[in-house]
């Protein structure tokens, strides 16, 4: 009998620099290979599909502005997820908080937009949207910090409730959010004072730069401030935090509320930007869920999220246009997104451990 082989995981003390770049890169390649297999099996040409996605997402000038425009909301949901994840708080309800941001932003825009100038109105819409997002996570945050109820399922269930709320506001007769006397139910456009125009007639809005700025500020907050240090201590060792006199409940509460507000901001960005109205179509887009993937791939690093957010926006916007140009199902984009994350998670093991096989001696058995 041959001696059995054992796989040994040896914890690395230091991660080699090249692996930090190589692992995400190989994850993307591996996911594209898996996607290609599915495309082949269902009768589409992988080469044609991918080259179309590349040009629609990244290399054409229209593609680039579309991608950066879409990345605005994805970076919002990405930093929202990362802000909570870094403290091991799994807010996976960013999707629902985003819906609330849309509802809040559209509501305030429609309610007082006529009476105020643009430079006042835009910040108000963004602020109210963020507050609405924070409001949507208030209950999960409260029960998590007081009773220890896992935030994972509660935040997610609230997403389904938020989706019903969006449908209610659009489809119920005489709703404040819809156009009166319209043939089919449709959200009312917010007044001009509450909407920005795309830069040079593209779908890239100035809100993109605001969101980038927020990501950079958060990067600084986490790395350099006392608040960021507190988050670090709690996530590394709740016991140590307790002995250091850090109020973990309060930090939990504030981190979750900020996370909710960031997703809400993502919804408000859609109101001042491309959507301009409460649109139930948002429910099918999954921008909030994409934020989870973006955060995980960037390993909750806020500056890396800008990169992974733009990458995923390209993947999505390239994938979305496929259906029009080649009749390939658009869902290939979402599928690739999931596959990349699965491979990246698997790749983590190679980053964290030195994995090798040893042939164990029979005598020691």
């Amino acid at each position: 009998m041959r001696s059995p082989i054992r796989i040994v995981f040896e914890q690395r003390n230091e991660t080699p620099k090249h692996l930090s770049v190589l692992v995400p890169l190989l994850s993307v390649v591996a996911a594209l290979v898996v996607g290609a297999l599915f495309l082949l099996a269902t009768g589409y040409s992988p080469l044609e599909t991918y080259s179309n996605m590349l040009s629609d997402g990244f290399t054409s000038s229209r593609g680039i502005t579309d991608t950066l425009g879409l990345s605005t909301v994805l970076i919002c949901t990405g930093i929202s997820a990362a802000f909570a994840f870094q403290m091991n708080l799994y807010n996976i309800g960013g999707e629902g908080q985003l819906y609330l941001g849309m509802i809040g932003g559209a509501w305030v825009g429609l309610a007082i937009g006529d009476r105020l100038p643009t430079f006042v109105m835009i910040p108000i819409v963004l602020l109210v949207g963020s507050l609405a997002g924070a409001l949507w996570i208030l209950l999960p945050a409260f029960v998590r910090s007081r009773l220890g109820t896992s935030e994972i399922v509660t935040t997610l269930l609230l997403t389904y409730i938020a989706a019903s709320l969006v449908k209610h506001f659009v489809y119920s007769p005489g709703s404040f959010f819809v156009t009166k006397n319209s043939a089919f139910p449709q959200g009312r456009l917010v007044p001009d004072s509450a909407s920005l125009s795309g830069i040079g007639n593209t779908s890239l809005y100035p809100s993109f730069f605001l969101v980038i700025l927020i990501a950079i500020v958060l990067f600084w907050v986490v790395k350099k401030t006392e608040y960021g240090y507190r988050i670090q201590v709690i996530s590394d060792s709740p016991r140590a935090a307790h002995y250091a006199g850090i109020n973990a409940n309060r930090t939990t509460m504030s981190v979750m509320l900020i996370s909710g507000a960031l997703s809400g901001l993502g919804g408000a960005v859609l109101i001042v930007g491309p959507f301009g109205r409460l649109d139930p179509g948002i429910i099918l887009l999954g921008y909030g869920y994409a934020g989870i993937v973006i955060a995980a791939l960037a390993r909750n690093n806020f500056s890396a999220i800008i990169v992974s957010g733009i990458l995923f926006a390209g993947l999505r916007s390239g994938g979305d246009k496929l259906q029009i140009s080649t009749d390939t199902p658009i869902h290939i984009g979402v599928m690739l997104q999931g596959a990349i994350l699965l491979f990246a998670l698997g790749g983590e093991a190679f980053r964290r451990y030195h994995i090798h096989a040893v042939r164990t001696e029979r005598a020691t058995q």
């Binding site: 995981f9 599915f38 269902t42 799994y90 996976i92 209950l139 029960v143 009773l147 220890g148 109820t149 896992s150 994972i152 399922v153 509660t154 997610l156 269930l157 609230l158 389904y160 409730i161 019903s164 709320l165 449908k167 209610h168 489809y171 119920s172 099918l284 999954g286 869920y289 994409a290 989870i292 993937v293 995980a296 199902p329 869902h331 290939i332 984009g333 979402v334 599928m335 690739l336 997104q337 999931g338 596959a339 994350l341 699965l342 998670l345 698997g346 983590e348 093991a349 451990y353």
Partner: protein, 312 residues
């Protein structure tokens, strides 16, 4: 006539509970072994569309059920490799599986849009028994998989609490170091039950498709049932028998909006009515997390924690 509608509603609750029982049992076996698989929703969707495509092209619903279940096990296999072998973050791995499964299901479902299953899984008839008022439609007019799901739950309970391998399974979730010291492989037990759990979830998804929905509605086919199933496991305290009752209760909240709509009871707008199952689940979860009840529930103590043997 009014009474009749409520009998049918109760019968529907029992029927709709089938997917909840199977999916929650799948999660229960996985979690009892100490693995947290949040990917249930993604597995349900992918197995649902697989069963549809197979049943549609082969003409056999049973083949559809089998393939759908196997696809469930296959996807759970991805989770097993990531969380048991590669020790990845199980929460993120589960979410990745939901996103991947949703995209994959919608991709595969493209040709199924607008089609319906030609032959559905039909309810059994027990002759005169099925015609007993009240009890007949609720107890004696369900389909074979619904009965099977309840039998599987009862057998699971006996297996978990009355058999040697059941003891080993529970020990793996609570105290893997002891199981390891007994000379059993923690990794192998965890992988096996994660796969078996996926098989059950896959069966639930296939049944949902071939007996309930009959047509592919993308993500709305499952509509969050996978997440309700995960909450149901907590609600049932990781015990299969309690899970049956919980599933029927949640099944009732799932079908209630449709019954009220059919009854033309419209004082609550239908979009708001559709929140009910999620709201009920949310309230149940929060009510159960008072510290006094939590300890009694008996969550596996090593749930979600990878096992690493202390190397001497």
């Amino acid at each position: 006539m009014n009474g009749n509608i409520w009998v049918l509603a109760s019968a529907d609750s029992v029927a709709i509970a089938t997917t909840l029982i199977l999916a929650a049992l799948g999660a229960l076996f996985t979690e009892r072994a100490g693995v947290l698989n949040l990917g249930i929703e993604g597995i349900l969707l992918t197995s649902a569309i697989s069963s549809f495509l197979v049943a549609d092209s082969s003409g056999s619903i049973w083949l559809g059920l089998i393939v759908g279940s196997l696809v469930g096990a296959l996807l759970a296999g991805i989770h097993a490799v990531l969380s048991v072998v590669l020790r990845a973050n199980q929460i993120v791995a589960g979410l990745a599986l939901v996103i991947f499964g949703t995209g994959l299901a919608n991709f595969l479902g493209k040709p199924a849009e607008g089609k319906t299953v030609t032959t559905l899984i039909k309810p059994l008839s027990f002759g005169p028994l099925s015609d007993i008022p009240l009890i007949g439609p609720i107890v004696f007019r369900q389909d074979p998989i619904t009965y099977a799901s309840i039998v599987i739950a009862i057998v699971s309970s006996l297996y978990l609490f009355r058999s040697r391998p059941g003891l080993e399974l529970r020990a793996t979730g609570d105290d893997p170091a002891t199981v390891d010291a007994q000379g059993l492989s923690v990794a192998s037990i965890r992988i096996r039950y994660t796969l078996f759990g996926g098989l059950l979830v896959g069966l639930g998804g296939s049944w949902l498709m071939l007996a309930q929905s009959a047509a592919w509605h993308q993500a709305a086919t499952t509509n969050g049932v996978g997440w309700i199933a995960l909450a149901l496991v907590v609600f049932a305290g990781w015990r299969p028998m309690r899970l049956i009752f919980g599933a029927i209760l949640f099944g009732f909240t799932l079908q209630l909006p449709f019954t009220l709509q059919a009854e033309q009871i419209t004082f609550i707008p239908s979009a708001l009515m559709q929140m009910l199952p999620y709201l009920a689940t949310l309230i149940a979860l929060i009510a159960l997390s008072r510290p006094s009840t939590r300890n009694k529930l008996g969550a596996p103590k090593s749930l979600g924690i990878p096992f690493v043997r202390d190397e001497r």
